[in-house]
Symmetry: C3
């Protein structure tokens, strides 16, 4: 593996899930692999799970880790080429990325979308600038449009919890109070189509995801119909792709125990953080239905298998 | 030891002090103990000594350390159960704590009181939420009402500097310009009663600490009388417990060399940070009377013995 | 080496450059030297290169590293002696420095000038307070007036790229939009005079550096004349020393390819961050003329040789 920014960077996603499950049995077996190797984790946005699980994964591999909250620890970075830098931005991404590439063997980058200009967000300016200018392998820690480390953890979790050879997996939109990226949902839609599952997506009218990621997955509009017989319910809010960035507040889309009644005792997943009783009700999160905590725990092994594959290729 | 949030978590405080003194002689002898173990340090409030001494202690034991400034690095966390999370808080402590417990073998948590609602502060909501939901041992890095790592370091320091079998130790209130927690003073009062000392507390009327912590210790109101023959003067400001959070500005309570005249060449202690000439005068801090720097140095060994005991129990 | 705050702390600067070049060939050869040694990196100001390169250098030597953004992670620190600390500052530098010295074997300190009071800035209050009160070796991570880790990296870079035994090196002022310190330029002027080069400085009238640092170096005012036959052009903005802190916006001083025509195919250097098209034009930074990226890369080896020399002396 040479970089990790989407499922397209992975030759065989199914095999990667199996490798992660193997790694999880013996996470400290490869501490020599990361010896004298440095991982730089660059956060243009807040992070809890990604920050901690990536650090832990790198430590498990014996790597040195350096964490930067880019705008807090240093300064504003100019992303546009050819500009006269006489404003508030002190450094250009061309230098910033190249310099970090001098200090790190692998760079992880988190950069959220602005959710105002769809075309700009979907161009993935920051992530691509690091790929272009850093000279080292880049791992997405959630970009404007995708969150592949999350999706890989999701597939690992489904593999661990599935009771049937071909479970039914439903990605359901849920309400929120602010505009959230489509990244987790885009990415899950891409990845899950590489697993042996029946996958469908359900959301209100106007909240359909880009077909570039949902591909041939059935797109439904009736949550109850979608949930029937489901083995896994993946809950996530996203703001509108069509009416870009619009917030969906349809509170009746909250996922609660009552709605799970029609499922096949579905396990409920969410990438976290989750707003309780807005997105998922307490009666689900505090029940056996929820597997959000072990799902978050698997972020360590998704990060670790990715770092291991990249280290093996350096 | 299964957690470390007050002296009540310690089977034998005197023995723990002796173990810490042993450890200090050979601090790198147990680097295998922390191998592949991760300490998460979570700061809801600022920290200098606790931050650095805990990192150092963990490194001495061969542990991996991850530091989070919770609100800077991630987001606001909801502490209340059963609420509809449609406000400014993005994640519930139930998930945050449980997830951190997936990534860390031990969690250290710093969380100060608000000093407005006594009952709420003394319930230790944040610390208890981590204990309840993280699933891993929790170490207090100073909670709303106690600072046991500081108190253990204090007892280590007294053991190192005491000239007599049963020294006289006085905890004296000192003035300040803002409302400070009672945590250090509560905690010192609890711990010191497990040492072979004569202990008393002196403060102005209205600034008495909770008897839950001071127990049977004599409570005096005349600083000069209290200081007579003292071997150790522990100086600390705290805001009022009775008139909860009220600031005490009685400037004549500052500790200076003149006041030390009646002591038995007392050593002066303070947990730091200390406001010079408000709490303690320059003529004390810059003299041989002060042991505040080695006292701060002992924070490494108080943290290290606690981590070592917990690691040994995992 | 006992500290590293200016070229004056180095017995033999030329030899140090050679040692750094040796170290670069085999950077992981001395990992035992830093075992159980802790480096504290204290940032009173933002940092990207210094932060990452110092962490990397310390890791290469097997050291434990603790990073503090002083004002974000802890609180405001009082620098003045003898004051009544009843304002906004919670801790005095005397305690803060001494305590950090308890936890760290070496302290790195970054502290920029205010650029309002020249005398105060040039007294290096913060750096000197750490030297005086910490009790451990101090490394400047850029002080108010000097940036010796940068200058050492600059000399390493010139040694790598020089084509002749005695290259011509020109330090040129360039425009900017805000007041920048003189530190990099002062420091480069001092250090370069210990190398076998012909060195001169060129700037507009009123932007001459202090002679305390430029010594006997020719001081020119015509950029074109200065550039003739140059092998290295070191570009840097600095605010006025004479009219202290005044910003120079003379945009015609920008360094572009056209101006390089009269040089001996000069290599262009800059400490970064650089504002493109204000300080240096895209046509230089994106060409073979620029060596700013490997120059930044050498920050690892300048920090590493300094730490190695100090560790060897502990």
């Amino acid at each position: 593996m040479k970089q990790f920014t989407s499922v397209k960077d992975v030759a065989n996603p199914k095999e990667l899930v199996q490798k992660a499950l193997e790694l999880k049995k013996n996470p400290y077996a490869h501490k020599q692999l990361g010896l004298n190797r440095t991982l730089g984790l660059l956060f243009f946005n807040s992070s809890l799970r990604t920050r901690m699980s990536s650090q832990k994964a790198a430590a498990n591999l014996g790597m040195n880790v350096m964490v930067m909250n880019v705008t807090q620890d240093s300064w504003q970075i100019e992303m546009e080429d050819g500009v006269l830098m006489d404003g508030g931005k002190a450094e250009h991404i061309r230098e910033a990325a190249a310099v970090m590439g001098q200090y790190c063997d692998i760079l992880g980058v988190r950069s959220f979308p602005g959710l105002e200009d769809r075309e700009a967000d979907y161009q993935e300016v920051i992530l691509n600038a690091f790929i272009k200018h850093s000279g080292v392998p880049v791992v997405s820690l959630e970009s404007a449009t995708l969150h592949p480390l999350q999706s890989l953890a999701d597939l690992i979790t489904i593999a661990e919890y599935q009771q049937t050879a071909r479970p039914k997996v439903v990605l359901t939109w849920a309400p929120h109070v602010k505009a959230l990226p489509q990244a987790v949902s885009n990415s899950f839609s891409e990845w899950i189509q590489h697993a042996d599952v029946d996958f469908s997506i359900v959301q209100p009218k106007g909240f359909e995801l880009s077909e570039a990621f949902t591909g041939s997955a059935p797109v439904l509009y009736d949550q109850k119909e979608a949930f029937e017989g489901a083995d896994f319910i993946y809950v996530k809010n996203w703001s509108s792709y069509k009416n870009y960035g619009a917030v969906g507040e349809a509170r009746d889309w909250v996922v609660n125990q009552e709605k799970l009644a029609v499922t096949n005792q579905a396990k409920v997943m969410h990438c976290l953080p989750v707003r309780r009783n807005v997105v998922i009700a307490d009666d689900v999160l505090d029940s056996e239905s929820s597997i959000v905590i072990p799902q978050a725990g698997n972020r360590v092994y998704s990060a670790q298998i990715v770092l291991k594959e990249i280290l093996g290729n350096l």
